[in-house]
């Protein structure tokens, strides 16, 4: 694994210096093969809407951002949170409320920012309350679980007309319909991302339409993934992992464990908020099922199956599990999902992607070959 980081030296080329930002012991995939595979996978996702259902995949990619937020909080900092959907839902509702009240391009752009900020802020408040209050381990998990249920109970009863913020009625179980179409920019210079298909014509394939929203989400997902890779491989990322491994020892080394957990939890909340904003924007609708117990557990399922200590695992597993869940919409879907979860956690406690990576590294013939190239291909395989 560390072969590539060792072959560096002072006169490395620009790509390898750039690459080293994203590589380290905290993420899998350091070889050239991995990055080639990664580029192939991204390219596959770029052309996917030409052949498949891009609208569905864009939803899965939005949810992958939610999966990433839990991977950072749980997998890298050791805080198991059932509350990511709280910040997700708060971000979504905030986006809805602000954009309904200010349905202009500038207002909608501000609503996106507001959704992310309020998502992060609510995580900061809950995190401050918990981490600076000395709540630890499993009790953090229980508090986040209870917060989810509080939000569900609360939002479900907001059907009355007294529950409205400005012109936006919260709507109880019926949810909040008529969220304005996602438009970024300011008056005069704005672009609508939803329901604004872009006609294309390619020789040999013919005419087709692509959704700008799909590419917005793809860009955000790849950007977030790379940014988080850089984060967890930075010095701060090492401290995060140290907190996960042993809080007391990290404290003894002079790090402020409480603050690290607080900062990461806030960051995770903002990321979940972004995911929620995109979710509400894509569906032009939001309702309290995002706070339900099943939905709250889904991120934990994705991250456990993919491998909680792997950002790539979170993304791959989110796409795969959601695809399975949608395509097996029959009675047995939940039974199979439950079995998958049970078997994964019992037989592969570290998750599917790290296990696959280990197999590849073990069977690798020569140095520098293959290096996890199969792993980044998985999303395109799954979504086909």
């Amino acid at each position: 694994m560390s072969r590539n980081s060792a072959n560096g030296g002072a006169n490395r080329s620009l790509p390898s210096r750039l690459r080293s930002r994203f590589e380290g012991p905290n993420t899998i995939g350091e070889s050239r093969g991995f990055w080639v595979g990664f580029a192939v996978a991204v390219a596959a996702l770029v052309v996917y809407p030409v052949f498949g259902d891009g609208s569905q995949l864009s939803l899965f990619m939005v949810l992958a951002l939610l999966g990433l937020s839990l991977s950072v909080v749980w997998g890298y900092s050791g805080v198991l949170s059932f509350g990511q959907v709280v910040f997700f839902g708060i971000g979504a509702y905030t986006f809805g409320v602000v954009s309904i009240n200010f349905a202009t391009p500038g207002g909608i752009t501000a609503a996106v920012v507001a959704g992310i900020v309020v998502g992060g802020l609510s995580a900061a408040i809950l995190g401050y309350f918990m981490f600076y209050g000395g709540v630890r381990d499993v009790y953090v998990t229980i508090i986040t679980l209870v917060s989810t249920i509080v939000m569900h109970t609360f939002m479900a009863q907001t059907a009355g007309s007294e529950w409205a913020i400005g012109e936006a009625a919260l709507g109880g179980f019926n949810g909040m319909p008529d969220i304005p179409l996602l438009t970024l920019g300011i008056e005069g210079a704005s672009y609508q991302f939803i329901y604004n298909p872009f006609p294309m014509r390619v020789v040999g394939i013919g005419a087709f339409e692509i959704s700008p929203f799909y590419y917005l989400v793809l860009l955000l997902l790849v950007g977030t993934y790379l940014a988080l890779r850089a984060l967890v491989n930075s010095d701060y990322g090492r401290v995060m992992v140290a907190v996960r491994e042993d809080e007391d020892r990290t404290e003894m080394f002079g790090y402020n464990v409480t603050r690290v957990k607080f900062v990461v939890f806030t960051l995770g909340g903002a990321l979940a908020g972004l995911s929620g904003v995109l979710y509400a924007a894509r569906n032009v609708y939001i309702d309290p099922t995002v706070f339900s117990l099943l939905f709250a557990t889904l991120p934990v399922i994705w991250v456990s199956i993919g491998g909680r200590k792997s950002l790539l695992g979170a993304v791959v597993a989110t796409l795969a599990v959601e695809y399975l869940r949608i395509s097996m919409a029959g009675e047995l879907a939940l039974v199979l999902l439950g079995t998958l979860l049970l078997v994964t956690i019992l037989v592969l406690p570290s998750g599917f992607v790290p296990w696959l990576h280990e197999q590849i590294v073990e069977t690798r013939l020569g140095p520098g070959e293959a290096g996890g190239a199969d792993a980044p291909d998985a999303p395109s395989e799954v979504s086909d």
Partner: protein, 312 residues
Amino acid sequence: MVNGINLALQFLDSFAFIVLAAAGLAIIFGIMGVINLAHGEFILIGAYTATLAVTQLGLPLVVAMLVGGLVTGLFGIVTERVIISGAWPNYISQRTLGRDVIEPLYDRLADSMVATFGLSLILTQGARIRFGNSIDQIATPFGAISYGAFSYSTYRIVLAGVSIGLLLATYYLFTRTDFGMRARATIQDKETAQAMGVNTDRMYMLTFGFGSALAGLTGALFAPVISMQPTLGDQFLVEAFVAVVVGGPSVVLGTALSGGVLGAILATFSNLYGTFIGRIALLVAALIALRFLPDGITGFIEQLRQRRQESD
């Protein structure tokens, strides 16, 4: 006066609900350190078994309820052997592959949570596939008592009595019997207990089975008063976790005290402002309690006791 009776009855009802919901979980989570998210489904098994035993087999209600507890207890033992400790799959894999395939879930809190959530999905959906969206309910026994313009189901008062009885029985079992001594020794220090001749593997299995049986009995007891649907366990889950966490490390005393405190909050706020506010008040109280008493009520009591000993 009538309002006072209303409040008292509501308190008894909330108390019984919280204590019964938490009883099984308190043992599995509080003693064994396994977060059982399938707790609600264990309750579901008890409720369905009792109901079907009455409607299909024609058993008397009390017998059917005991059968419900027993079946859930056996199911709990199978769960423990197959999933939590992995003893049976490992036995097979030792013979065929020559190694263990499953690492026990004890002291792996997050993993136990994820695994039992998987189990809970399977059980809920399995119940839905096998029995449909609801099954016939059994009638509430004992009728009602009336006072003033109000009447109240006698059965719900009986439930409060049963919940106290169960607490006492559990307390007796764990503190006064040989089994309880061995179980506590196993949980406190596995190696030493083993060295003293306790079959710790068996103790884990039986304690888990007992916790499951309590959950099943809860389901059976509530079978006549809640609607029989595959998701019926969910309504117990929140109160159960809240009560166990607020109660703290001492299982029986903790459950009783948190049942009392949380029951009072739930009953008062429900009585004054409706059930929705009551539920929110319960959850907020739990959040505040966790913030200021991270080790729960009994942890706090223990702290006070130690402080007094130190100052003496």
